[in-house]
């Protein structure tokens, strides 16, 4: 199928920016990038991409963005409850020929059952886990539209990595800070898929009709474990960092104690009021500006330096936090995972196959990490 123009939502994100690169440089298809925040549009600006300003909350923006397009790749993940409804309404007006919704394996929840390994037996539901529930809500909206005639395909990528991957950046930053941690020795299953393979699956979903109406998992050929995933990138730092291990129970128990309480909320408000960036924000309001400046000046006049330092709160005086830090709740959900997803349906319906195995994907990612100075000495920006 040929298209006059493809609208890409979420075009400035990790997958979206790479998709735009491949649309421009490899697939050579005309496209328009929907941009919510232009500060994030640097990667696609290199391509001379056509950019349409747009907010998924704003039906008029979406109508203008979809106008003249006959296909949509929906990658944006909005917190707006009506984001998908707004986009679908614009698509209906424009009578688009193909809608590729890029969802996530998160729709199977944090602890999917064995039936989820294959799409035909998998069910999606509610899990009381915010990210999964939001992805499910979006996917259900799209699925309803497909049931009502939208020529759509839903893709569910697994753990997508590659250059600019937030997962990879986080591992490398932690490693540079000397904080490399594993959960249960990294035994959890990591369904890693290289970002280019996901883009190729999107391209296949635009080209092939056989998957119309279906939801398809996009995964690499061989799952690895989280130990291999984390340490492959952490060990790119020289000298190799120390590794600390936490049990999932230990990590969960830690975060259980950190759940918000009245006391912790109060502490958070106090911390916010003391933070200089919040004060800077407040100072942009003239009424607050003079009040804040007067208070600071007065305090300096009557209090000793020690007392002012004490008022700045414990955050200002605390020495470096003891390492290692406990893996955050997001990592616990991702890495305490036991299921390997099949990619057979994608292979058969999309005539697609992943081409970049983990070793090759990690190597390509390393070239980008080196280029962007992230593998250099521990102080930010020291590379020259």
């Amino acid at each position: 199928m040929t298209y006059s123009k493809i609208l890409v939502t979420g075009a400035t994100g990790f997958i979206g920016s790479r998709l735009c690169e491949k649309l421009a440089l490899q697939y050579r298809l005309p496209y328009r990038a929907l941009v919510h925040n232009f500060s994030k549009a640097v990667r696609i600006a290199r391509l001379g991409a056509e950019m349409a300003p747009g907010d998924l909350n704003n039906p008029a923006h979406l109508e203008a963005a979809v106008s003249g397009c006959d296909a949509v790749v929906h990658l944006a993940f909005g917190s707006a409850a009506k984001a998908e409804e707004n986009l679908l309404a614009a698509c209906r007006s424009a009578k688009i020929k193909r809608f590729v919704h890029v969802s996530s394996m998160a729709v199977y929840g944090p602890s999917p059952s064995l039936e989820c390994t294959h799409e035909r037996t998998a069910k999606i539901g509610r899990y009381s886990e915010p990210y999964s529930d939001a992805k499910v809500r979006a996917e259900k909206t799209i699925q309803r539209a497909i049931n009502n005639g939208l020529p759509g395909i839903i893709l569910r990528p697994t753990v997508v990595y590659g250059p600019y991957s937030p997962f990879v950046i986080s591992i490398v930053r932690d490693a540079r800070a000397g904080n490399v941690t594993l959960l249960d020795d990294g035994r959890g299953v990591c369904n890693a898929v290289y970002v280019d393979d996901v883009c190729d699956a999107i391209y296949a979903a635009l080209s092939d009709d056989r998957a119309l109406g279906q939801a398809v998992v996009i995964n690499g050929d061989h799952a690895i474990n989280w130990r291999d995933f984390n340490l492959t990138f952490a060990n790119m730092i020289s000298p190799r960092p120390q590794i600390a291990n936490f049990s999932t129970e230990e990590a969960r128990a830690f975060w259980q104690t950190k759940k918000p309480s009245f006391r912790s909320n109060l502490a958070a408000v106090k911390k916010l009021l003391r933070s200089s960036s919040f004060q800077d924000q407040l100072e942009t309001v003239p009424a607050f500006r003079s009040a804040i400046r007067w208070s600071k000046k007065s305090l300096k006049g009557v209090l000793s330096a020690d007392r002012i330092s004490a008022l700045a709160g414990p955050a200002a005086r605390r020495p470096n936090q003891t390492l290692p830090l406990v893996p955050n709740p997001g990592r616990i959900v991702r890495e305490d995972f036991r299921l390997e997803f099949s990619n057979e349906l994608a292979k058969s319906l999309l005539n697609w196959t992943p081409c970049i195995d983990f070793a090759r994907g990690a190597e390509l990612t390393r070239t980008w990490l080196e280029y962007s100075g992230m593998l250099g000495p521990s102080t930010r920006g020291e590379r020259l």
């Binding site: 640097v42 190729d200 100075g373 920006g381």
Partner: protein
Amino acid sequence: MTTTPIRLGIVGCGAVTRISHLRALAALPEYEVRYLCDKNLEVARAANREFGLNAKVTTDFNDMSGEIDAAIVCAWPSHHFPITMGLLKMGVDVLCEKPITTTSSDAIELAEAATRSQRIVAVGQWCRCLKISWILRRLLSLEFVGQIQAVTAEFGDELSWPMATGAYFDRKQTGGGVMFDAGIHVLDLIVWMFGELHQITYRDDSFGGMEANGILSGVIKSGDREIPCRVAASWTHALFNGVRIVGTEGEIHLRFANRDYITVVKQVAGEPMVLRIGEEGCDMPFRSGSPQQALLEDFAFAVGSRRAPVTAVDSAILPLKILEMAYTLRRPLEQPWVTSWGNQP
């Protein structure tokens, strides 16, 4: 020096004006902001409110005629030339944001117009207004680390500048990508310290759009010696953010993050000794430690005394010429993760 405040107009009330100039002006009694001009009147009004000013607002800078002595121009670079020319015709001194114009021929025309009209045109090249830049110049003149072997200047970080539209990425509006936006700062600093760059080569990561990373290499001539020089800028990741000079007897590091001192690593009796050198003894034409304030302070002094500002328009022409030359010599920056296709659909 003027005894009464300079009546100032500002053309363009976007992010640079609000984040940089109006904040700096709040601490400078030399100025009185009389007029705020923006193509969107509401933006001008918002700036007025935000900074508690009582300035007149307009969408046409010609309205300011006769009511201001000097103006700051913070419009898109493609508008710098016509606006600054218009202001010179009004008899107004101008501090124009960098890059002064989008072409060196326009910059030359502006410099000539400034001379003809006996007006001052300064450029917002704030790196020259850092105290550490003046310290560095002095150390170089003293051959503090011996003969210079290599010079590197880098400026970059993940772009986070607030922007309401995609005009930042429109070459017609801005003249270029990161090299025109951030690279021009460090290139200007190098030219200010060392003069012309020769044997220029240039690579960037553009694929038909705006470059987000650029590396310009060249040679500084010092007597019969050729010193390699590299200037890099990035919108995607953090760089050194300063200048590094490698000499036969040590290294000098100027970091924009450390505005009070320069670090020198010098070999003393075969051992590296790290020195931090502060401002004392440097003959600078401004007091302020904030480069934005120093820039405005220098401009005010130039307006009052009619002497050339540190960032006079004629001194901003050469960096533009070098950048223009670099763009014509462009080669692609190697990015294997972009162009290695796993397959060919």
